[in-house]
Amino acid sequence: MSAAEQIPRNSIIWLLSAQLAVIIPLMGLMSWWMIAFWLLCAVWRVAMFRGEASFPGKIVRGILVALGGLGVAISFSGLGSLEIAVALLILAFSLKLIEVRTRRDMYLVFCLALFIVAAAFLFSQSIFLAIYQVFSVVLIITAMVATQHSLYNREPALAIRMAVKLVAQAVPVMILFFVVFPRIEPIWSVPHNVPSAGIGMSDNIEPGDIAKLNQSDELAFRVEFDGPMPLRQGMYWRGMTLSNFDGRKWSVGSSMKRNSGAENTAATYELYGEPLRYKMTIEPTGKNWLFMLPIAIPIDSTQGSTMAFVQTEDFALRSVMDLDRPVGIEVESYVNYSVGLDISEAQRVENTKLPSGFNPRALSFSADLRKRTDSPQEYIDQLSKYLIDQDFYYTLEPPALGRDTVDDFIFGTRRGYCEHYANAFAFLLRAANIPARVVVGYQGGEINPHNMTLNVRQLDAHAWIEYWRAGSGWLRLDPTYIVAPDRIHLGFDGALERDSEFSNNDLLSPLFYRNIGLIKALRLRLDAINYMWQKKVVGFGAQEQRDVLNDFLGGVTSLKLGLLVAGILIIVLGTLALWILWGARGINFSPEKTLYLKFCKKVSARLGLFRAKSETPQAFAERIIEKYPQSAEQVRAITRQYNEIAYAGARSAANLAQLKTYIASFKPGVASAKL
């Protein structure tokens, strides 16, 4: 290896830091042994660097590759191909570290590093990651710059200064191309990253399921209303109806599986009044349920080309494809409606079915109550009254229930959570032969005052019921509201703030810190920024591009677009070029020096006399006169004038002009009559 191909030591240090930076965002994805693997390679590299270890031989490398491959095969066996690809990339990246010998090898590592930076974006595109990755890129670029330095460069800061400068200068080009580069359809379909299971609503619930969801403050979706925001307690983000009850578990029934508009459905409905119009940005769930204010109708024009929605018989919205990336959708919701005015027999049966052998005490309680009431409505009122009168509590940490969940809850613990109430209420309604079902979704949300968006998080997950009444159709009833109105009025957070009984007193829980004033303000501010980012940058697609360019150019034509691109490029790069080349141009001489150098040039060209670097103008003049006495007068005059201006403080426009004429009229080697 020639010295020219040797890797400067600085660049190895920068490379190691860049690698660490690049791996950190993917820590969650990697297994512990992969981090250990990288660490081993890094330590090895440092040892080589210090001359304590040598390059690994073929056998050692072979073993490392085999071990790594095996490790990936074992720890990633259940995961998607994307994870495996990224894992292999990181392995290759780690191994390459102990293999690089020349500058050329370094570039392979740099390319891998940049690829991994991109790969991290497949898992998240948040603004925080984006900012972090700019930092990673700067480190990688720094390592590249350090690679190009002399082997003896001892100033590592030079490289990072240059890298920051380069990245800053590249940003205008990036912005330009980001805006104008055509967003074309995917060329082939690719596996998307599906968020880890467990987050988000499932299509069946048992008591306790939603409580788990409520531990998470992960965002479910954001809503931006076109007009004024409706009251929060009215916002029931309806997801699925669960009609199928097996005694313990509620799950999706047949009407959720049928689409509205299909044959033989009872999907008759009437909508009243003006709809609410809003735009939702839904975080990926890996499932296809959407949560809307009923009855929601997607607005066609905003549908992304790859998204299509279906309305079920129960007026829930489902997307045709699983939500594997953030999706924007604009909908209109008619909050005044009546649906299912005429219920089919099959539906009635399904929604009143109770498996026998469960909750005997509740059944007898229900029979007793029915005897005392005349109408279904009175039955429901009495039931509500019972909830209020008796000692029921709303709590995040309810005691465990046995086999007969309703019996245990109503006559035993009396401490529960939304799904406990929904479960019990739906059961008791069905026991009285009133069609009833559990509905899961989200309730309320948090209003961000910075951008007036509503953020609905997993902790807003909620369960309530719908029952059927002749002449009115399906009606919503929220038993939790009866027990704990604050939960609905103030939202989940509000309930926590007001009532310590609800509080989760676990100091380690992130929920504990959610509402400390300063943190809350900061959180909302960051959230607004992140939403802006999601909307303007992450969500920048073909449609947004058209809008922006239309706004900017007033009608997009290829000519206008071409001129825009060329114009911006010329301005940006031209400025940069001028700046760089100006810097390279040489020293800025004073005007008299410039003139004097002209004189020296004249002398050297005509007389063949060169002024030595150390020679003073006076000494040079003597030398010229010695050889060409006929020029003595002129040379003396010029030298005197120059010395006057440069050293005697006689710099003035007149003196400079005088010097200029002297030099212009100077004829080397020719005697001058007058000067």
Partner: protein, 360 residues
């Protein structure tokens, strides 16, 4: 120490061959003609937009490939962040073109004549890099297959780089164009130029050791009479004769034998060594190589030595300057020289002792 003769022959033939090919059209020729016209030889050159070439390096092409791949990923996953990353990296590539170009701009390169070398050995040319307005990083010089380290030149400073150059056959060696290149800052773009610094050096024939000790035609060996009594060199002993100086008595002999003897000294009239073309055999090149060896041997001896070639006569002398003059005559023997001011050796003679010595 000796270069393989086939290598020597090959080089020598190459030189003739090149001359033979000159009549025919060749790309190399027309390229040379073009670049000679564009970048004429000059002792000192300042790099500017007129003489810098620029192109993506290998790493740059790989990097471009990476960008294309990432762009495909961005399109297929409809991932805005990756789009942004691709355009940022693309922007870096574009911006680095300017920086790489700027890194060579204003760099001043000048050369000095190298010390003489023996044919086939390396001559070392000191190449000066001077920065005026800005600093230059990672500049690399190369010719033949020899390249320098990457050099950083700080603002308003000078660096002298000793560039080795493998010389060809004896004569004047002009290394020709030197490649000055840089890939700073990112290594993705390479800017380079070939400058001819109009530097040269004299290449002595490679000494042929098989020539042995110099054979001289000096009169001493043939006639035996060109001597007279003197005080320079010890000649022999003779019996003491009254009147001999006491200082010339060989006291050691007296101690051993008890007889008085006087040491005899003589001065040689002409004990100078003539390295003569006629005393060596073989073809011209072989003769020159043998004479070269002789000259080196003679310089390490005690006698003055001179050189006789057909048409060339260097009077005897001693010392490094003399040796260099003599070797230069050998180097340039029968070679047509384009220099107007007489033979190269002639100019060296004028320069006298300024020519430094040769290390073998």
């Amino acid at each position: 120490m000796r270069i393989p003769s086939d290598l020597y022959q090959k080089r020598y033939r190459d030189r003739r061959g090149r001359q033979g090919r000159r009549s025919r059209f060749s790309w190399r020729q027309s390229w040379r003609a073009w670049i000679d016209k564009r970048l004429p030889p000059k002792r000192e050159q300042v790099l500017s937009h007129r003489n810098i070439f620029i192109f993506p390096s290998r790493a740059g092409l790989v990097f471009t490939g990476l960008l294309v791949m990432l762009l495909l990923v961005a399109i297929n996953f409809e991932n805005s962040a990756i789009f942004a990353l691709v355009f940022l990296l693309g922007g870096l590539l574009v911006v680095s073109i300017l920086h790489t170009f700027g890194n060579l701009m204003g760099l001043k390169i000048s050369g000095r004549t190298a010390e003489a070398a023996f044919a086939g050995r390396q001559a070392i040319f000191p190449i000066m890099l001077s920065a005026t307005g800005r600093q230059h990083f990672g500049v690399q010089l190369s010719w033949q297959d020899i390249s320098s380290d990457r050099i950083d030149v700080a603002k308003q400073s000078e660096r002298s780089i000793p560039m080795r150059f493998r010389t060809g056959p004896r004569g004047i060696c002009k290394p020709g164009r030197i490649k000055v290149e840089t890939s700073y800052p990112l290594g993705l773009i390479t800017a380079w130029t070939w400058v001819d610094l109009a530097i040269d050096t004299v290449v002595y024939p490679f000494p042929d050791k098989s020539a042995g000790e110099p054979v001289s035609q000096s009169a001493y060996h043939e006639s035996g009479v060109q001597e007279r009594a003197g005080s320079d060199d010890f000649f022999g002993l003779r019996s003491y004769v009254v009147g001999d100086s006491m200082r010339s008595v060989a006291w050691k002999t007296f101690a051993k034998t008890g007889q008085l003897s006087s040491k005899q000294f003589v001065d040689y009239i002409d004990h100078r060594l003539w390295l003569d073309w006629d005393n060596v055999t073989g073809d011209d090149e072989q003769r020159l190589q043998q004479l070269c060896h002789w000259a080196l041997v003679a310089e390490s001896g005690h006698h003055e030595y001179g050189l006789r070639l057909p048409g060339v006569n260097v009077p005897p002398g001693r010392g490094m300057p003399h040796l260099n003059i003599l070797l230069s005559e050998l180097a340039l023997y029968k070679l047509p020289l384009k220099q107007s001011s007489g033979s190269y050796a002639g100019s060296m003679r004028q320069a006298g002792s300024s020519k430094p010595s040769v290390a073998l």
